[in-house]
Subunit: 351 residues, 2 copies
């Protein structure tokens, strides 16, 4: 029998960035089908030989890593799992159509608990006109693992890849940044207090906005429709799932360009700022925006010619511009200091 | 904040069959898109408005449940994960085109270990002309979780659903049954011996066939092509992933019919029989065939008119026929006793 061998040393996954890791693992795969328009390296696979393309992506959420059952109602979890997968369809400028859901659970979960989870999935499917088109339940040794596959559609002429940003394009972002992470900070704070004293009743008044941003994010299909109404096709787009820095670097890397975004133009909600100031003097709202993640806003670039169509949209903020190849991706502070954006490493968990 | 509540009692998932569970969870989902041809309840979702349909399915493999790292080389695991997803495309009579792979791992796994896993995925993709079209790596608290989404294509006129079996149709199965489970029995036996005495060298000579069946299954794309060559469209089809009984019941339930399969016609390899006799007097080869699982053979029904086209195919065995609605699904023994086929319950793991 062939044995498991680690012949040539051992490289820790935590020592590699996510992008270099995926690039290494998928380097030797040769595309064989004419229908595979875009494979690894964007928010979705792009499939099909006609002008109407199919978009597919799969997202996995692991208990204890991507969600904490201590403060995640199952209905919210179901909603969020669907929303995250749909957000990847939005990130290609597409329309979601179907979801397939694979759930692995231990016996800790009852049938009624799964009912709640599916109620959340259903609510999100209804809101975004998506069909549940496949379901599988399996067994897990510990906790819950949720894999959601989203299928969508987009006209070839309207696809927004991560690649495609050009020199002088404007960098835009929808909604606001960092608020989901602020919500997580509040939930983690209340969890610690509750663990110390189980009689403690969490006081979450005044944090509604940031909590909802974390527990029940909405994919920005409204922005996809708005861009269609205004007849704007982004030159590049992705969603903000791991913070602005990570998403911006994805676009710059795929497009072969640099960028400058301006700290003072980053859209940050006052509740996010308030949470940061409550937490610690050293917790800056801009850090939540850059590295917090889970906002599921859309980050995109547009040509200068589309500036007039975009400039007055309430939910779209112009935060910077694209610089030439070889230039770094930076954030410029109000003091005119350029801070280089950094990708996050693989977040490993020791076993 | 909304709290996790289990208001109305608690039903254990282990008390429900997999099919009733999925049916309960997905009951209230209303299809909204004309392109959703088939949703939950078959081997794949069937998508698209034209005559050429897209097939999508997602399969999750969990370490310690679906595979044991003690005897699963990572390269084999990668191959098997791809093969299992491709088998679901074959089960709809389709051709696989793309795979998307989502892997969650703890720090126990090195980059080199993931290299091995991807080498196996690549080998299977090459063999079946499939493109890796998406990849995601994430973090797991313990062990590895692999979710593979397979995308395929099929002409509307050639789709084989689970529904569609008609009275007097012939029940056919490819290859042989129970051998993957026999392979698992050998590996489990050697594992126990090894755990008792780590100096023990496993002796696997003479078990090559059953071991390969378990560790490196092949989706039966050859059968899909053979059916096309013979111009036969099965009236119903599924793959044998959890034993013949489970698959047969899926077809009977979806088609609204019963069946009789004949024990003496079940294709069982001599190595499977030998392993059973070595294990215990009470371990019958037919039990491996009915309930063992992981064979990834194709189980299908054909109209009587296609009998001549099928009867001499070496890799296709006619094992029974479809009976009318209201009749049970049974296996008839050589002594002419009818044994009712039973679905397996959800295999829960206590946490």
């Amino acid at each position: 029998m062939e044995q498991l061998e680690y012949q040539e040393g051992r490289t820790e996954i935590s020592h590699m960035g996510k992008v270099p890791l995926i690039e290494r693992l998928t380097a030797d795969f040769e595309p064989r089908n004419a229908g595979t328009v875009k494979g690894v390296g964007d928010d979705c696979a792009v499939i099909g030989q006609g002008p109407r393309k199919t978009l597919v992506n799969v997202q996995t959420l692991v208990e204890g890593v991507n969600f904490d059952m201590m403060y995640t109602p199952l209905k919210h979890l179901g909603y969020k799992a669907a929303a995250v997968a749909i957000s990847n369809i939005a990130a290609m400028n597409g329309t979601p159509r179907q979801l397939l859901v694979s759930i692995s659970v231990s016996n800790r979960y009852s049938v009624e608990a799964l009912d709640e989870l599916y109620a959340g999935l259903r609510l999100c499917c209804q809101r975004y006109d998506v069909d549940l088109a496949g379901g599988e339940t399996g067994t897990s040794r510990s906790g819950m693992v949720l894999s959601v596959t989203a299928v969508g559609e987009v006209d070839e002429s309207r696809i927004a890849y991560r690649r495609g940003a050009k020199l002088h394009d404007l960098v835009c972002v929808s909604g606001d940044l960092g608020s989901a992470y602020a919500g997580l900070l509040i939930l983690e704070r209340e969890k610690v207090t509750y663990q110390a004293n189980p009689d403690f009743q969490p006081d979450l008044d005044g944090y509604d906005y940031v909590l909802e941003r974390f527990l029940k994010p909405e994919p920005r299909m409204d922005i996809v429709r708005l861009l269609a109404d205004k007849d704007v096709v982004p030159t590049a787009m992705t969603d903000v799932s791991k913070g602005l820095a990570d998403s911006m670097l994805h676009i710059c890397r795929a497009s072969g360009c640099g960028c400058e975004v301006y700290e003072e133009h980053l859209p940050i909600d006052y509740q996010t700022s308030r949470v940061c100031s409550e937490m610690s003097k050293n917790m800056l709202p801009v850090s939540c925006a850059l590295n917090g993640g889970e906002d599921y806003e859309l980050l995109f670039t547009i040509g200068q010619k589309d500036y007039e169509k975009i400039k007055d949209l309430k939910e779209v903020h112009i935060i910077g511009h694209i610089t030439e190849e070889g230039m770094p991706a930076v954030m410029v502070t109000p003091q005119n200091t350029a801070i280089t954006l950094r990708a996050q490493a693989f977040q490993g968990i020791e076993e």
